[in-house]
Amino acid sequence: MEKIKGYNAAVCDAGPVIHLDELGSLDLLSDFHPLMISKTVQSEIIKHRPTALKSAGFEIKLVDLIPSQGPRLSVLSKALSLDQGELESLSVAQEMPGVFFLTDDAAARLAGEELGCKVHGTIGIILRAIRNKMKTPHEVVGLLSQIPNKTTLFLRPALLEEIIQKVKKEYSL
């Protein structure tokens, strides 16, 4: 497998940064160029993981200009009770066709997909690390196993186990 190349711009919500930092795997976000966060998202991250952004070891672009929301996002935001960080992130993402929007929040994800973004979360980013040659399948299984005890990412235990078994089967572990 070849390492993925090309334009992988992403706007990131607080969740993936917090959850990957909890797993000591924030570096998995280094493959997105540029990786952008809004000011409110930055504040949320600092509040929950004060050292995460300082110790990231790769560039995280702070987006401090909030473009106009547009009527569609405005309606989605009210209907889905999006918080300010999610709203800012989506405001940026909707201006960039083809951009990734990284979030672990179901409502934000729904809004992101409605706006045409490629939306993914922590689980997808972790698994992607295998085909991206940033982690071995064995390391990824280890990370997935640590999610219940080391992170604040809530996942149904049986579903997590199903994912772990899928990785093991896929890579003959």
């Binding site: 179901a106 994800r109 729904l110 993914h120 689980i123 997808g124 295998i130 085909r131 899928k166 896929e170």
Partner: protein
């Protein structure tokens, strides 16, 4: 009605108290109930599970 007893981080409680003290909510119970209602409105189990499964597929077999 059921009563739920739980612990919240100190910093989060400061924010809850601030919203109540400034008159946005009548009391802490009202605020927590509103927060829960909003969360449950938008976080349906089936939807969350569907998203996770889509993520697994992308993570393992996606092209980008």
């Amino acid at each position: 009605m059921k009563a739920i007893c739980t612990e919240v981080p100190d910093r989060m409680y400061v924010e809850v108290k601030s919203l109540v003290d400034s008159g946005w909510f009548r009391n802490e119970d009202d605020l927590i109930l509103e927060a829960l209602r909003r969360f449950l409105d938008t976080h349906k189990v089936e939807l969350m599970e569907q998203y996770i499964r889509e993520d697994v597929e992308w993570g393992l077999h996606g092209k980008d």
